[in-house]
Symmetry: C2
Subunit: 222 residues, 2 copies
DNA sequence: CCTACCGATCGGTAGG
DNA sequence: CCTACCGATCGGTAGG
């Protein structure tokens, strides 16, 4: 909503009441995110969510006003966690190639969890590829933001001379993205063991093809 | 079913009646496949399918006995078409590397159609990764069959000396699979133009990394 | 945050 | 292949 943020008052009862409603909403979004990673954003139902929360359907509904708004809240929460776990930590690595490596390594770390829990950027792409609307736009926006961050790291690495000057950043990003998608496909659907290692090796292969020096103490190919 | 195939009789009425039922069923499966490529195998509903067919729900239902059986019929039909369009034509290319190239080229050709219509091996993986059962098994089996065919081509190319002797066929397959997945993701969801060309360049990159000579008259990087 | 309800749609069944 | 129906579930609303 566009309501002005309400400043904290001296009346504890009112501020506590406000907090209570927000806490409940946050708890619902948290539970919804848990459901969505397992069954997809499109599979989210208010009834199932209410049961998980031990609330009535309309009690859940009232916090969002529509299923669409619930879905968008879930996507925003996912985006925030993605940033917290991958994007921000990677910023502490030096610009360019080290940061790109950090992003991928953190992504792999997260993926080893997501193999159990699922990734809504991947399931959402399949669910909404033919369904224009605000949910699709929210998903698309989050993914694009993340892709842009990775591309920036690639471009900087190129400018710093850590990657070949003739490299096509979009092409490299495409190939890296493919590794992540193959990882989820093989690990989560086909249940092929060793997929994380294969994705990591694939990343090393791409880097070496694009002219990066081998990482110090790379664990692959041992 | 396990019923013995009924031999053609001299009574035209009966054989025509049999054909009629089978023709109707085939027409339903065809329409169902069209729906499934757009909205997914899980999104298939007997009611929607009946409307498309101009039939009653129970009229459609009677041909399958359950939604699950309908879904499996759709997957089998998809598998058959996949073989007809990619696997069998590729067999006419020489064993090894040329056949591998033919498989990928035919796959790309098919993908340019699927960007509009969707691929149930991709959407199905997301829909059924957490849903054990016969539908998932059918999907998994089809994908594994196709992966095995590609792996065979890679292994032969290696044995023939057309690819490096130290190559890991599963690793190479993983990377190729990633390109296909990235293609569908970017083209179908993000609507990024030029994704087919990127996938093709990615394939050339993988081949050259694994020691293949450049293809004769390769159109990439021109 | 609740109860009580709505119209629509789902997979599936009975009986023909 | 049909009509007519079932119990369950969906998103959403009314009213409190």
């Amino acid at each position: 909503m566009s309501a002005a943020p309400s400043p904290p008052t001296d009346k504890p009862a009112r501020s506590r009441a406000l907090q209570k409603g927000q806490q409940t909403k946050a708890a619902i979004v948290d539970a919804a995110l848990g459901l969505a990673t397992q069954i997809g954003v499109e599979g989210l139902s208010i009834g199932a969510l209410a049961e998980v929360m031990g609330m009535s359907k309309s009690g859940v509904f009232a916090h969002f006003g529509s299923r669409e708004e619930l879905q968008i809240s879930v996507i925003r929460e996912y985006h925030a966690r993605f940033e917290d776990e991958i994007f921000f930590p990677a910023l502490s690595a030096p610009r360019g190639l080290p940061r790109l490596r950090a992003m991928f390594a953190l992504w792999m770390q997260r993926s080893s969890i997501e193999i159990d829990a699922g990734c809504i950027y991947i399931s959402g792409a399949v669910e909404f590829d033919d369904c224009p609307g605000p949910v699709r736009d929210a998903l698309c926006g989050s993914v694009r933001t993340w892709h842009a961050a990775m591309k920036r790291a690639i471009v900087i690495a190129k400018e710093e001379g850590q990657l070949g000057a003739d490299l096509d950043a979009d092409q490299m990003l495409f190939e890296i993205h493919g590794l992540i998608l193959a990882l989820h496909y093989e690990a989560r659907f086909l249940k092929t063991p060793g997929s994380i290692e294969r994705a990591t090796r694939g990343f090393d292969n791409i880097l070496s093809r694009y002219g990066a020096a081998p990482a110090t103490a790379s664990p692959s190919q041992e």
